[in-house]
């Protein structure tokens, strides 16, 4: 590793892009270039860590010292003052009011953006699980009537996911795993780890797919059910009940034509064990601690399938 190259042109270029990289604003190609450079440049990696620390500290400090209630109060005061401009000529003495005024744009003016984005994120994530369930299990009927031998299913899953088979079988009491494989849906490169099980008179899918920078939003905007220490998101698009959850690197779904509450119940029993199994695998999958840091900071820029 060359620690003397921090002032090279390449380092300078990468450093100018680090904040955009952390904000997930770079093109895929540029992100790859940045990641490649970070792998070989300790100085720039340290710079990235430094900026991560700053961003986390900023979020923490603002969150602690400007709680939402106070923010809202300040904003309402601001609204009552009927001040048309909030940028030009704004000379408040306190940082708190300055923050509140700037956040006026966020909360009072563009709150709908967050709500809309949260709902879209949840809906689009849950629909992915339903799409794979409907396409692969229901329409294509990609499962045998008699369960495939576990050894065959583990082979289909590959070494990365073979260990999850036992988890699914154990946690879904009353269901039998008929099929397990890696699949995709038309017009998408996204890969799904798909377990097709039968029980309670129906076919049910347990599906995992890698998060690619997305996440279920946390907050009151989504329908969430806290269970087993995790949030479960539920919906019923296209007549299919689905419960969704997320792990460090994956979205997970349990989908079938059973009721939504039943999906939530089954997902709740699966999630802790799946998370443990996945975290163990991820820990060995990523060779470098720095790469892991970068991936976690950037919300799932892990290796693709």
């Amino acid at each position: 590793m060359n620690v003397l190259n921090f002032d090279s042109r390449q380092c300078g270029r990468v450093r100018r892009q680090l904040d955009a990289y952390l904000s997930n604003e770079l093109l895929v190609e540029t992100t790859s270039e940045v990641l490649k450079h970070l792998e070989s440049c300790e100085a720039c990696s340290n710079e990235l860590e430094s900026r991560v620390r700053l961003r986390e500290a900023l979020q923490r400090a603002v969150g602690r010292h400007l709680p939402p209630e106070r923010l809202r109060e300040a904003i309402h005061q601001r609204l009552r003052s009927a001040q048309p401009r909030f940028l030009g000529g704004f000379h408040t003495a306190t940082w708190a009011l300055a923050l509140a005024s700037m956040a006026l744009v966020v909360v009072a003016g563009q709150q709908w953006l967050r709500v809309q984005r949260a709902r879209q994120l949840v809906a689009s994530a849950l629909k992915r699980g339903v799409a794979d369930h409907l396409h692969c299990a229901i329409q294509a009927h990609n499962y045998p009537e008699v369960a495939s031998p576990p050894v065959q299913l583990r082979k289909k899953l590959g070494p990365q996911y073979a260990g999850l088979l036992a988890v699914v079988q154990e946690k879904l009491s009353g269901f039998q795993v008929l099929e397990a494989h890696i699949c995709s849906v038309p017009d998408s490169k996204r890969k799904y780890v798909h377990f097709i099980v039968r029980g309670q008179g129906t076919i049910l899918s347990v599906i995992l797919t890698r998060r690619e920078g997305e996440s279920f939003p946390v907050g009151r905007f989504v329908e969430a059910a806290a269970s087993s220490g995790v949030d479960l998101y539920k919906a019923k698009p296209e007549g299919t009940s689905v419960a969704g959850f997320e792990t460090n690197d994956y979205f997970g779904f349990v989908a079938s034509d059973l009721g939504q509450d039943e999906m939530v119940h089954l997902a709740a029993s699966l999630v802790p064990a799946l998370r443990n199994a996945l975290s163990g695998r991820v820990g060995t999958e990523k060779a470098a601690a720095r790469a892991f840091l970068i991936a976690s900071v950037c919300g799932g820029l892990g290796p693709s399938y």
Partner: protein, 88 residues
């Protein structure tokens, strides 16, 4: 020369004091992007300013924030950065 690294231990007071010194028109954009985590495009739409202006304001807001915190670290005698950074 590379920018001085942000200290390992950052107190809330340090952050808020540093934030206060960032010009308000840049501060707001930094908060929207780095705290509220709005995309650059969303910020541009919300503030009705060009995307390039958002990026410019972010750059001009983030840089003094880092500089202020590095200065705080120096005043308090906090050794900025990690051991690896010390090798520079």
């Amino acid at each position: 020369m590379p920018e001085p690294p942000v200290p390992q231990e950052i107190r809330d007071d340090d952050i808020l004091l540093a934030l206060e010194k960032v010009p308000v028109e840049f501060r707001g954009v930094v908060l929207m992007a780095d705290v509220e985590e709005f995309s650059y495009k969303e910020i541009a739409e919300a503030l009705k300013i060009p995307l390039g202006t958002v990026m410019s304001r972010l750059s001009r807001g983030r840089k003094p924030l880092r500089k202020e915190l590095a200065e705080v670290a120096r005043l308090y005698g906090i050794r900025p950065g990690s051991e690896r950074e010390g090798k520079r």
